[in-house]
């Protein structure tokens, strides 16, 4: 055994250690509490600068940058809401992070679930458009975030044409087998809410006829919806 018993340590050393530790905790307590301010978010560095800074580890750098962004997101103790962030700069940062790590889901998750979920319609639209643009670059990986964007456009912004645009993109570009059926079936329901019953009927009919709807319950649900639409159209 390399270590001697604790009793061999002079008492003054133990007492000094305890005193110094207590003093350090006291000093730490007196230091100003760290806080983040929304207006502090600086411009995003250029893509080539970041590639150089990554030193061959772009995924690691992308994750570090996401954590850096979080320092502005969480706004600990200051209660500064997301809407106070400069959204153009924020989108630049998120784009750069996606360029470094295109397979990473964190930036778009943050964009659609955090930054787009604010009571500022203009900034919300800016962020949703960013999600839409990035979705088109890799639809089969990024569909969850555009699906959420569609729901935000429909229920928060009450902008049905915008929601339809996103739903159409989801229907046309998402081919991943793991994507649930409802992701590709949102458009007819939005059309129905827009009172475009004929278009909705055609779309549901097309979906059923195309064989894209594999799930039996989805098929039955769409079938019932189609009948209801046909009845409403007849009643018009």
């Amino acid at each position: 055994m390399r270590e001697r018993p604790l009793a061999d340590v002079p008492r003054w050393v133990g007492a000094g250690l305890a005193l110094a530790l207590a003093l350090q905790i006291g000093v730490a307590w007196l230091q100003p509490r760290p806080s983040a301010r929304a207006e502090d978010l600086g411009p995003a560095p250029g893509a080539s600068t970041l590639r150089l800074a990554a030193l061959g580890e772009p995924i690691a750098l992308a994750n570090l940058l996401m954590l850096y962004l979080q320092a502005f997101d969480y706004q600990a103790g200051t209660r500064v809401p997301y809407r106070n962030l400069d959204y153009d700069r924020l989108i630049d940062w998120l784009s750069r992070i996606l360029e470094l790590d295109p397979a990473g889901q964190y930036p778009l998750m943050s964009a659609s679930r955090l930054y787009a979920d604010i009571p500022d319609a203009a900034k919300q639209r800016t962020m949703l458009e960013f999600v839409y643009r990035e979705y088109l670059k890799d639809p089969n990986r990024r569909w969850p975030w555009l699906a959420h964007a569609t729901i935000l456009a429909k229920h928060r912004l009450k902008d049905l044409p915008l929601a339809r645009k996103y739903a159409t993109a989801l229907q046309q570009h998402t081919t991943a087998p793991e994507a649930p059926g409802w992701v590709r079936q949102m458009e007819p329901f939005i059309l129905e809410e827009m009172n475009e019953l004929e278009a909705a009927r055609v779309l549901i009919g097309g979906l059923l006829a195309s064989g894209q709807v594999k799930d039996r319950r989805d098929y039955e649900l769409l079938g019932r919806r189609l009948k209801e639409l046909e009845q409403r159209l007849k009643a018009k």
Partner: protein, 235 residues
């Protein structure tokens, strides 16, 4: 170590010349900011490497056993080492600050150098503590590097963790408390030797006093921790 300091100063001078050619505007500001950050990081590494290497050489050459066989207490040996390494750290802080006087006002460079000296003394103490505990170069240097990086990034980690304070999830709150606990026993390196002091506004007297107090208390903590560990070692 002196030739390494010379190389560092040469690299700093070359970088300053390069930045002068590259920067379109605010040349002196850019030079001061980048060179100061470079010198700060390299000086920290040099101090840690110097302390660890020289102590490990003493262990390997059995100088430590020889010293402990003398009729003086272990505390005297360790305190002597601390004073020597701290003197080297102070000298290094003074040397690396000299080139900055060409890029920023001398009064600001003096304050920056004072803070760098405090930072380097803390690093020397930390290196002494780690090398006495771990006794090998790589683990000791890795521990000092980890300590330094954690000390400089703790504020960002705290900001992220503070968001969990409002959470109802006990795991979030526990994580936040753990981060606050770690922060309480780390020095606030982010408040020391700030580049902004050189290029923007000089620090308030309170900020300098806080740096000095932090350095004194933390150095005392590390030296007593090293004393504790040295007394427990069966040498």
């Amino acid at each position: 170590m002196l030739w390494l300091v010379g190389v560092l100063l040469l690299v700093a001078a070359a970088s300053a010349a390069f930045l002068q050619q590259v920067a379109i505007t605010e040349t002196a500001r850019i030079q001061a900011a980048i060179i100061a950050a470079l010198l700060r990081g390299c000086a920290g590494f040099l101090v840690a490497a110097f302390v660890v290497m020289s102590m490990v050489r003493e262990f390997n050459d059995k100088v430590l056993e020889l010293m402990l066989a003398q009729p003086w207490p272990r505390a005297a040996y360790l305190f002597g080492k601390f004073v020597g390494f701290s003197a080297a750290a102070l000298l290094l802080a003074a040397i690396v600050s000299v080139p900055l006087a060409l890029l920023a006002p001398a009064s600001r460079v003096a304050v920056w150098a004072l803070s760098l000296a405090c930072e380097l003394v803390i690093l020397a103490s930390m290196s002494l503590f780690c090398v006495i505990t771990l006794t090998h170069v790589v683990p000791a240097l890795a521990a000092v590097l980890g300590f330094y990086v954690l000390g400089r990034s703790m504020t960002a980690i705290q900001i992220i963790a503070q968001a969990s304070e409002a959470s109802q999830d006990w795991a979030d709150r526990l994580a936040s408390w753990i981060v606050q606990g770690i922060a309480a026993i780390l020095p606030r390196f982010d408040l020391m030797t700030q580049t902004a002091w050189l290029v923007d506004a000089p620090p308030a007297a309170g900020a300098i006093a806080s740096v000095l107090a932090q350095a004194a208390v933390y150095t005392a903590l590390l030296v007593t921790a090293a004393q504790f560990d040295l007394h427990r070692q069966n040498l």
